[in-house]
């Protein structure tokens, strides 16, 4: 018995060593580039950092950076609340939109490859600096405003909006929906990757399932909820996490802007660290709680 165990341990040991060799680049990188800045920025958030010529000094001031952020700074609380409430609404909208588009793009029709290519284009064209330029381009805003103006009389969404507003049923809920519809462009360009992930999931569902359901008298609507939904429910989790991570790290993000202004223009490294740690912790908590909730509903086929 003991001998057997030893033998196994030898093989396992060899495997473990090669495993460690494979992930060595990550470990080294993590230790050299991540651990130190990680803890240093945590430490700095409790310090007053002054930059002198040639070196910098940190003086421990306890929680006062955090206190300052929450009680004195005029913008931070507001930005934080705005950011996270917008994130919740938008992320749900992105999930629904991308699921819907993936369902359509999974059907067979002419020009499918072209449409897929177009839907995926924003992943490439609106990353990094380009999206920042897009948001403060007054000329483009002007052009779209003038287009909107000339077409405002024939806009279907406007008239529907008008009718529903005057009907006065559930106005608050409708307002949210209209808000999302107005932002549909932002949602569409933010959901490229999610569409692809959903598509990849849809392609793995075997057609025989749908056939069986069809023979048993299942309508398309029912098979959407009974087959498609459970089969790709694990991708909802992946997509949800990706959406939140992506959303909270976008470069046109107000909180991030605020942090970099505090850091680069006002040179308050300690305060900036405290702010970004607050932000980071909230994002982690949101991801943790929501993925726990979603993972309860996930159905694993095998």
């Amino acid at each position: 018995m003991k001998k057997n165990k030893n033998k196994l341990a030898g093989l396992q040991k060899r495997k473990a060593i090669s495993g460690y060799l494979f992930i060595a680049p990550f470990i080294i990188g993590f230790l050299v580039f991540m651990i130190k800045p990680f803890f240093q920025s945590l430490y700095m958030s409790f310090c007053e950092v002054t930059l002198g010529g040639g070196s910098f000094e940190q003086a421990w001031i306890g929680l006062s950076n955090y206190v300052f952020t929450f009680t004195v700074d005029p913008d931070f609380n507001r930005l934080l609340v705005e950011q996270f409430s917008a994130m919740m609404v938008d992320s749900v909208a992105i999930m629904v939109f991308s699921f819907f588009v993936a369902l359509i793009l999974n059907q067979k029709f002419k020009g499918r490859a072209l449409v897929r290519a177009i839907f995926f284009l924003p992943v490439i064209l609106s990353s990094g600096v380009i999206i920042g330029l897009e948001t403060d381009n007054a000329l483009m805003a002007q052009i779209s405003a003038s287009i909107e103006e000339t077409t405002s009389n024939i806009s279907i969404t406007d008239s529907i909006e008008e009718i529903l507003r005057t009907a006065g049923v559930g106005v608050r809920a409708f307002e949210k929906v209209f808000e999302i519809i107005d932002k549909i462009y932002d949602i569409a360009i933010a959901s490229g990757i999610q569409i692809i992930i959903f598509l990849s999931g849809l392609q793995t569902i075997s057609a025989s399932m749908y056939e069986a359901a069809d023979i048993e008298g299942c309508t398309a609507w029912e098979s959407l909820w009974k087959i498609t939904f459970p089969m790709i429910s694990n991708l909802f989790l992946v997509n949800w996490i990706y959406t939140i991570v992506d959303y909270s790290m976008r470069s046109d993000n107000d909180v991030m802007d605020k942090i970099s202004i505090v850091m680069i223009q006002q040179l308050q490294y300690g305060l900036a660290s405290a702010m970004s740690w607050i932000y980071f912790l909230i994002v982690i908590v949101i991801i943790g709680i929501s993925s726990l909730l979603i993972s309860r509903g996930v159905y694993y086929y095998d």
């Binding site: 580039f33 990680f38 700095m44 839907f119 995926f120 992943v123 483009m140 779209s144």
Partner: protein, 335 residues
């Protein structure tokens, strides 16, 4: 097969068959066409919405200054000109900048994907102590906003040292800011732009490859490394292409890391961010007096610059479209 063959088989008209099926065929056909018309309208609208900003930019980039202020001109320029392109080319030193960006993005992407493959394979196929802990670290790297640690990374590279070795030898720590070395080092250490994501994707892919393939290789006397190179790598081609293309594109447009680590090199992303300031300086130099550039004109130049900078990406996308879309969707990522 299908329709025509069936028609010939039965050799009776549509209405005949419809009658036999008690109206079911007619209903089915109408439904089919209605669905495809709805789908067409929806998709056309959404595609147009996505493409519209690019089309707008194209039309604006060919306008003269007069056209920009002319309220009648909206999308088709009255005085067609390529002046904007010439000016932008001069302002951002196009060829030089694109070559710079190209080399950086290419090398960084190769390094990132190579390292991601090694690490992803290690996580997917080996059992070792603390595996869960290290994978949690990968998740932290994905989740942590670079801005959170940027302030201390800033200082880390400003006063760079490895355990005080350099300080002992030269008495000074090294200032690595403004050079490209730190960024390459970080990419080698899997800490570059979105590097954790590539590790994650590649790991998920390797996990889905059947284990028997590998075991067969081991039984036949293949070593660990040889198995990896000869058996696993060729299988992983689709996911590697996808990751490489993503790494390239995201590096190309990235502003954050470029500004922080590659400030000394002229790159398309940093040049684009500075374009409107440069235009102001240029106009001042030409006019000889202190003036401000009109908002419309500077936005027009920025649009032109954006177009010129995404042009290589569009070309790349046209050629490697399959690599972007199909290979990622066929690789079957699972949680």
């Amino acid at each position: 097969m299908t329709k025509k063959a069936k028609m010939k088989d039965k050799s009776n008209s549509f209405w005949e068959r419809n009658r036999k099926s008690q109206g079911y065929l007619l209903k089915k056909t109408i439904m089919k066409y209605a669905v495809s018309i709805c789908r067409f309208i929806l998709l056309f609208g959404m595609c147009f919405m996505i493409l519209q900003p690019i089309l707008n930019k194209i039309s604006v980039s060919f306008m003269t200054q007069d056209d920009l202020y002319n309220p009648i001109v909206i999308s088709i320029p009255q005085h067609f000109t390529t002046e904007n392109y010439i000016l932008t080319n001069e302002l951002i030193d196009y060829t030089h900048t694109v070559m710079n960006s190209f080399w950086i993005a290419l090398t960084i992407a190769i390094v990132q994907v190579a390292m991601g493959t090694l690490v992803g394979y290690g996580f997917a196929r080996f059992e070792f102590p603390l595996k869960k802990f290290w994978f949690a670290c990968v998740m932290i790297v994905i989740l942590i906003p670079p801005q959170t640690i940027s302030s201390s990374l800033h200082l880390h590279f400003r006063f760079f040292d490895i355990f005080g070795i350099f300080k002992m030898i030269t008495g000074e720590s090294i200032n690595l800011r403004g050079s490209v070395i730190p960024y390459y080092l970080m990419s080698f250490g899997c800490m570059g732009l979105k590097n954790g994501l590539y590790i994650f994707l590649i790991r998920q892919f390797f996990r889905n490859i059947p284990k028997e393939l590998e075991e067969a290789a081991y039984v036949d006397g293949c070593g660990t490394l040889k198995t990896f190179v000869r058996i696993m790598l060729p299988d992983a081609k689709p996911i590697l292409t996808s990751c490489f293309l993503f790494a390239f594109v995201w590096q190309w447009t990235d502003g954050f890391y470029s500004k922080m680590f590659l400030g000394g090199t002229t790159l398309v992303s940093t040049e684009l961010a500075r374009l409107s300031d440069k235009l102001g300086a240029y106009i001042q130099r030409i006019m000889g007096i202190k003036t401000t550039v009109s908002v419309a004109y500077s936005n027009c130049i920025v649009s032109t610059g954006t177009l010129m900078i995404i042009m290589p990406l569009i070309v790349l996308y046209l050629f490697a479209q399959k690599g972007f879309v199909e290979s990622l969707s066929s690789s079957g990522i699972k949680m």
